[in-house]
């Protein structure tokens, strides 16, 4: 598997308008100025031996294998560090060079174990390859001299080992940790012959600051850093390029396989979202796909008190169809609905909403984006005309000022965070608006110029104050606004933000952020060059989530920070396909491509294509479904790949709604929390088991390719199709590509998308159509999609969720690097060693007042519920604010969160809940009960022979 080595050009590309022509071994080649001789040689088809150089890292010049001779120059410069110069004549193979290379190799091998045949890198070792290339035939130094053969292997990391005996000290790992990942966990200890790779101060990898992104393992040329899965299984025999199934960064990976066994996932160099980088989840945490908890047979039961009964696909589908028809006959056509999944492919999502609209005959379809980024869709569409972020990820490399609001990229979007950090190290200024002191505020070689540590729930006040400064200090991009935006709206907005209640001096009292800090941050944003906003759920999951999105759009428009690389308003999407699920018409009111269901023309298009009459009225949103279930009018639901019981707010309410339904169908990999209330369980297929596409946060449509056969025999799209057919609405796709073709036919922004096109170019950013045949990395260049940009007045309305004597603290929630959302996948991997339970972060001051010590069990109580977890006393949170994650079902963080939600989209207000915390020594009643419920509802009857 020398794919990486085979394609590696040794040093990163250089951009230059100036082209330089050189002669290498008699071959003329022209490359951009600044290109290394090594890279130019590869372009010319000439490989120069190398070990320390690799295309993803800046040249280093340490191995001394790539020496060349240049006419008219003394010595033998390294080709990796020497840039081409006009007219250079280079020789890569001479007697002298051969001698030197063999001499260097002889030195390397004099301190390297000769166990190639039993080495885990056998067949995938650059040292081995180079020994062959230079023709090393003997090591005259012998093996009695000083060596590192006695160094101890570090197996502390769950996914890879570090074997210093095999290390050639090329520093690739150290450089990757610095340049690619930006964590600076590795260094070289000692000097001279004693030089060795050292995690931190000679710590174990696990105890060091390493975040297990795998960048070091990826670049290691030997077996020094090696995946345990490869040590256990051996080298892969084939690979499939696909897209990661975790977060909204959408990294491209190669699934490396032996037969149907995945032995390694390696980030794909040509992936445009990740450029060969990865995080601990995508790189290593894929073991869940074959975890013993996977359910691979369909199951049904009459009531949740009964054990599950395994049945055939035919029976399960037939039963489900019959139940849904029965319910519709008894309670009406609108008594059933479904939820599409942001974890599934575009094609699957499209099919589920089609099933609901065409086969169920109503618009009761919604998606998990409801609970995360629905305000993004609403807000950005209102302001700019498109329900999506404005930039590609690479845009951040052109930013001069980077604003991170309510997002924690180093935990939630680590691969993007690495690129962001790289830009900050290059000199861009960083502004962080977050109640917590997230890592980006200050970490190695990164320090935010401003940390606006606002109180949860006061985003809109803050954004208005920033706008106030821009207007009051006349930092407005007048030409941009005049040319690109609605003039009347702008004038109204200016008058609004200029009002004294939006002045930083007033807002300081609301947000807790000093007025001077707000002013300085506003000035930096408006005048610091290209300014880009990146935001996450800390913006959207509020009662004013949509308002805040529009507030940021206003600020970007007022300062002219839109329509080119380096700027923009960019949501960091949570799930792998949350953008896609929204694009695919998963919302009750929208058809694919964000066309309103009441739009006669759009509806007519679909009706003609689908040969069915569509309802013109929007259907139920998820919270409406729960309410309708409780009032008895909603009785059946088809939930594909979402665990609403764990992830939706106010668990008590959700559970009650689930219990009120007659047919709950869950399609998932595992018996999740929602499955406890289900009557039909349809086993799902993991991202490795099917073809399709995911659309990431930068609107990039990337192929998902079937690496192994579905464990349950059917891919998710096939199950939906079968259900539709059983319901009497025929679907006959032979391959997901046909679903994409239908999407392209029916969706103007996808018109140019096809599997053939994706195979050709790798990935495509929508809109992709006649006007933009290769897709659209940056939107709104020259003109907004809606025509003129729209300023919206964004009055700050405090949430009704207030602290008081009973609940004096504010709870806010978030995610952690090693776990993913409800944890269904990551909890079933070794990632648990980093985060085995959810912790409640509490400030020492608040902890002291309550007699809470670090590690104590505490009860977390809100007006809707109570749960117990362990406290972590830390100054990451400010006094008055507590924080936890929601990765573990036992924690039940959403038992505590409330029913409040965004005024426009019903996105829940996860980020603000008034709570109290007190020491306890017992689990909460809910936890006790849910434990019992979990046990009883997961029983599977032993099949009769």
């Amino acid at each position: 598997m020398s794919r990486v080595l085979a394609n590696d050009r040794g040093t990163p590309p250089r951009l230059s308008e100036q082209q330089v022509s050189v002669l290498i071994d008699g071959h003329g080649i022209t490359v951009p100025a600044g290109t290394s001789i090594m890279r130019a040689a590869v372009v010319a088809g000439i490989k120069i031996p190398k070990l320390c150089a690799t295309e993803t890292l800046e040249p280093f010049g340490s191995c001394r294998l790539c020496l060349v001779e240049i006419d008219g120059r003394k010595g033998t410069p390294a080709s990796c560090t020497t840039p081409v110069e006009p007219g250079m004549t280079v020789h890569t193979q001479t007697e002298r060079l051969s001698r030197l290379r063999r001499g260097v190799m002889e030195l390397y091998i004099s301190d390297h174990p000769l166990d190639c045949l039993t080495c885990s890198a056998n067949g995938d070792c650059e040292l081995q390859d180079m020994a062959g290339v230079v023709g090393l035939r003997e090591v005259r130094y012998g093996y009695e001299g000083a060596n590192h053969f006695g160094a101890k292997k570090d197996e502390s990391n769950p996914y890879f080992t570090f074997d210093p005996t095999k290390c050639i000290v090329c520093s690739r790992c150290v450089r990757a940790c610095e340049e690619v990942q930006g964590t600076f966990a590795l260094t070289i200890g000692e000097r001279g012959f004693g030089s060795h790779v050292s995690p931190g101060m000679d710590e174990h990898f696990f105890d060091s600051e390493c975040v297990s992104c795998g960048a070091c393992v990826q670049v290691c040329p030997t077996a020094t850093l090696m995946e345990k899965s490869v040590i256990a299984n051996g080298q892969a025999q084939r690979s499939v390029v696909t897209t990661c199934g975790y977060c909204g960064v959408g990294c491209s990976f190669e699934a490396e396989l032996q037969g149907d066994r995945v032995v390694r996932m390696t980030p794909y160099m040509d992936g445009k979202a990740n450029h060969g980088h990865s995080c601990v989840k995508g790189r290593f945490a894929w073991g869940y796909a074959t975890h013993k908890d996977r359910i691979t047979k369909p199951m049904i039961r009459a009531t949740i008190e009964e054990p599950w009964r395994e049945v055939s696909w035919e029976e399960a589908i037939g039963h489900t169809a019959a139940e849904f028809r029965r319910i519709q006959q008894k309670y009406g056509r609108g008594a059933v609905g479904g939820i599409t999944s942001s974890r599934c492919t575009n094609e699957e999502t499209f099919l589920v909403q089609k099933l609901i609209r065409a086969a169920f005959g109503n618009n009761n379809v919604d998606t998990c984006a409801r609970v995360c980024h629905s305000p993004t869709g609403y807000g950005l569409k209102t302001a700019f005309g498109t329900s999506a972020g404005t930039q590609d990820f690479d845009s951040v490399l052109d930013a001069d000022v980077i604003v991170v609001i309510g997002a924690n990229p180093t935990e939630g979007h680590p691969v993007f965070a690495s690129r962001l950090k790289r830009r900050v190290r290059e000199g861009a200024k960083l502004i962080v608006a977050d109640p917590r002191r997230i890592d980006l505020v200050r970490m190695p070689h990164i320090e935010a110029a401003h940390h606006l540590a606002l109180l949860p729930g006061t985003n809109v006040a803050l954004i208005n104050a920033l706008a106030h400064v821009v207007v009051a200090e006349d930092l407005i991009a007048r030409d941009f606004v005049a040319e690109r935006c609605e003039a009347d709206d702008f004038a109204t907005w200016c008058a609004f933000v200029s009002r004294p209640e939006n002045a930083p001096e007033h807002v300081a009292g609301i947000t807790g952020v000093p007025a001077a800090e707000i002013r300085a941050a506003a000035r930096l944003y408006a005048t610091g060059g290209n300014a880009a906003i990146y935001y996450g759920l800390g913006v959207t999951e509020h009662s004013q989530g949509s308002t805040m999105v529009m507030g940021m759009a206003n600020l970007a428009m007022a300062t002219g920070n839109l329509g080119r690389s380096g700027v923009g308003v960019n949501p960091l999407r949570g799930q792998n396909n949350v953008q896609g699920s929204c694009d695919m018409g998963s919302f009750p009111h929208e058809l694919s491509g964000y066309r309103h269901i009441s739009d006669e023309a759009a509806r007519a298009l679909f009706e003609a294509a689908w040969d069915v009459a569509l309802e013109a009225e929007p259907g139920l949103r998820i919270p409406n479904m729960f309410d309708a279930a409780l009032d008895g009018s909603f009785k059946g639901i088809y939930i594909q790949g979402e665990d609403i019981v764990q992830s939706d707010p106010n668990t008590h309410h959700v559970e009650a709604a689930m219990r009120a339904m007659e047919c709950v169908v869950v399609q998932d990999l595992f018996l999740n929390e929602t499955a406890a209330f289900a009557h039909v369980f349809l086993p799902g297929s993991s991202f490795l088991e099917k073809d399709g596409t995911f659309t990431n946060a930068e609107r990039r449509i990337s192929p998902v390719r079937k690496a192994v056969a579905p464990l349950a025999g059917l891919a998710d799209w096939e199950v939906t199709m079968a259900l539709s057919n059983a319901l009497g609405y025929p679907m006959n796709y032979k391959h997901p590509s046909e679903i994409m073709d239908e999407i392209a036919r029916l969706t103007p922004t996808f018109a140019g998308v096809s599997y053939a096109a994706l195979d050709r170019v790798g990935s495509i950013q929508w809109p992709c159509n006649a006007a933009a045949p290769t897709g659209t990395p940056v939107m709104h260049i020259g003109k907004f999609v809606r025509g003129k940009g729209r300023f919206v007045v964004t009055e700050y309305v405090p949430t009704d969720e207030r602290t008081g004597p009973r609940f004096p603290l504010l709870l806010t929630t978030g995610r952690i690097l090693t776990q993913y959302n409800v944890g269904a996948q990551t909890r079933r991997t070794e990632n648990n060693v980093w985060h085995s339970e959810d912790l409640l972060e509490i400030h020492p001051h608040d902890a002291e007042n309550r007699g809470i010590r670090d590690g104590d069990r505490v009860a977390l109580m809100s007006r809707v519920g109570e749960t117990t977890l362990r406290a972590q006393v830390t100054e990451r949170v400010q006094p008055g604010v507590v924080y936890t994650t929601f990765h573990h079902p036992i924690t039940g963080a959403n038992v505590v969160t409330t029913e409040y939600s965004d005024w426009a989209t019903n996105c829940p207000e996860y980020k603000v809940t008034a709570v109290e915390v007190r020491p306890t020594n017992r689990w909460s009643q809910w936890q006790e009960e849910s434990e019992v419920l979990r046990e009883s509802t997961r029983r599977v009857a032993v099949a009769a022979e």
């Binding site: 040249p59 280093f60 010049g61 340490s62 191995c63 001394r64 020496l67 010595g75 033998t76 390294a78 560090t81 020497t82 840039p83 002298r96 001698r99 030197l100 001499g103 260097v104 030195l107 390397y108 004099s110 301190d111 005259r140 130094y141 009695e144 001299g145 000083a146 050639i168 000290v169 520093s171 260094t187 070289i188 000692e190 000097r191 001279g192 012959f193 004693g194 030089s195």
Partner: protein, 517 residues
């Protein structure tokens, strides 16, 4: 009032100068004498240290080496009037060792009070800078180019050319960095300047700043020079108070700030790119070139990085003119060089002379042969990476090109003398061992090669297949010389191969047992 000079140079202090100073003060007080004690730097006549000088109408009369116990007898002999005493060396300036020198850079060293700005001015200080303030940057650079001054740190690259590159690099911020990480064995010229005449270095750096448009400088001083570091820091404070440094250099409206930084305790930090890494707070590790530091150096800004002596030679070039300076020397080696004589030598010390002196003159005439009294067998010139010179090459003139032609280098001009008890196989082993110890560990030839070199020489010494091992060492030397990333690995073959070439008998263990060692 009589002025008595007791050096405060580390070399003098190491042999008791502090105790002497205390004793002189005590004795003067006890005798009720009006004595003003000046703590000067060293004259660089180390066999005479501590060299106590007394100001007399005939000039400064020296006594040395003086120990604290000698002080009462000095007073008793009325040394304050320059009277006779067994330790009396006569008028210092007339001591042939000194009289035969051409002191330009060290003109004030050992004469003035190192901290006295007024003393500095009184001895011609700041004349070069005042001249530079009247000149356009390109003219200053032109003068340095015309002077023929080459880097005194070891590489011998023309200083003015380096400056021109930095001048032409466009940047809002540029730096001047002084390499005072003087680590070569047997060298001390940098330290003597910092301890004996620090203002000349500061003046040189300010001129460099004016020349290339740099407003900030750093002096990177090796950690083994705590005394020099303290003195340099104090001198910088004085210079700032007197307007030589700061936002308005000598009232010119020009800015130059300077900081002294303590080195990281590694020989490799004396290599300019490692030094820059270390100065930036990182591990001292070689950066590849290009880019040259003059284009992208400290914090990726254009940076002039020069040795102490290079910078300290600049004021006189500006003061007396390029032509004056280039009058000294021979061939392409212009000006004077402070040769530092050390090792097994009778009269060790600094010898500032125009290029062209032969090795024999240095060792025999100035040095007076070995301290042990045994015959001189060889000298090593240029620090631990310099070649070993046998007696039959002692006619080689001290000159960059003449040395290079014969496979050596003058480096930082340290000359270490060995008598006939030296074993050159051991010295070759030491060269590898030194490289192994001091290698930054970045490039393979140096990191692994130096260690393997030690082992191969050990086999030679043990008589284990010596011919094959010598052949292996020769191959290794080619890999290290042509393959190493910097001069540490690249020059280690110099002492090794010169030892093998000139002293082959030492590599034949059967004929020459090493038992004597």
């Amino acid at each position: 009032m009589t002025r008595v000079f007791v050096p405060c140079d580390s070399a003098a202090l190491s042999v008791g100068a502090y105790d002497v100073a205390v004793a002189v003060a005590a004795e003067a007080t006890a005798r009720g004498l009006d004595v003003t004690m000046v703590r000067n730097g060293s004259r660089g006549l180390f066999w005479l240290e501590p060299l106590v000088e007394v100001e007399t109408p005939r000039g400064r009369v020296g006594y040395g080496p003086v120990h604290a116990a000698d002080v009462p007898s000095l007073f008793a002999a009325d040394f304050l009037s320059g009277a006779a005493h067994p330790l009396r060396q006569g008028v210092v300036e007339a001591i042939p060792y000194l009289a035969n020198q051409q002191r330009l850079t060290f003109a004030r060293c050992g004469i003035i009070d190192a901290y006295s700005f007024d003393d500095y001015l009184a001895h011609g200080g700041l004349r070069g800078l005042r001249r530079a303030l009247e000149l356009e940057p390109a003219v200053i650079v032109g003068a340095v180019i015309d002077s023929g001054l080459r880097g005194r740190g070891g590489a011998g690259f023309p200083t003015g050319i380096k400056w021109r590159t930095a001048l032409q690099a466009e940047s809002a911020q540029k730096y001047i960095v002084c390499n005072a990480d003087e680590g070569d064995s047997g060298t001390y010229a940098d330290r003597m300047i910092m301890e004996g005449d620090p203002f000349i270095l500061i003046e040189g750096m300010v001129i460099a700043g004016l020349a290339v448009g740099a407003t900030k400088g750093f002096v990177y001083i090796r950690s083994e020079y705590p005394h020099a570091f303290r003195r340099m820091r104090r001198a910088i404070g004085v210079a700032r108070a007197r307007g030589l440094l700061g936002a308005d250099v000598l009232g010119s409206g020009r800015t130059f700030e300077l900081e002294a930084r303590l080195g990281a305790g590694a020989y490799i930090c004396g290599e300019e790119t490692s030094l820059l890494e270390s100065l930036e707070g990182r591990r001292g590790q070689i950066r590849y070139k290009p880019p040259l530091p003059a284009i992208s150096g400290l914090f990726a800004r254009p940076t002039v990085i020069n040795n102490v002596i290079s910078l300290a030679s600049v004021p006189i070039i500006l003061d007396r003119g390029a032509a004056f300076y280039r009058e000294f020397g021979s061939g392409r080696s212009r000006g004077t060089m402070p040769i530092q004589l050390a090792g097994n030598v009778k009269r060790g010390g600094i010898i500032e002379r125009a290029f062209g002196l032969t090795l024999g003159e240095i060792v025999e005439e100035f040095g007076g042969g070995t301290q042990s009294g045994r015959p001189v067998r060889c000298v090593q010139v240029g620090g631990p990476l310099g070649a070993y010179w046998p007696r039959h090459l002692f006619d080689v003139p001290f000159d960059y090109e003449a040395f290079a032609e014969r496979g050596g280098m003058i480096g930082h001009a340290g000359v270490v003398v060995f008598d006939d008890t030296v074993n050159l196989a051991r010295q070759a082993r030491f060269a590898f061992a030194f490289c192994a110890l001091e290698s930054c560990g970045k490039c393979t030839p140096c990191r692994i090669g130096a260690q393997r070199g030690v082992e191969a020489i050990d086999r030679v010494i043990r008589g284990d297949r010596p011919a094959a091992q010598i052949a292996l060492v020769r191959d290794l030397c080619e890999v290290m010389r042509d393959g190493s990333l910097c001069a540490l690995g690249g020059l280690t073959p110099l002492p090794v191969l010169s030892a093998i070439e000139h002293f082959p008998e030492d590599f034949e263990p059967l004929r020459r047992p090493v038992a004597a060692q």
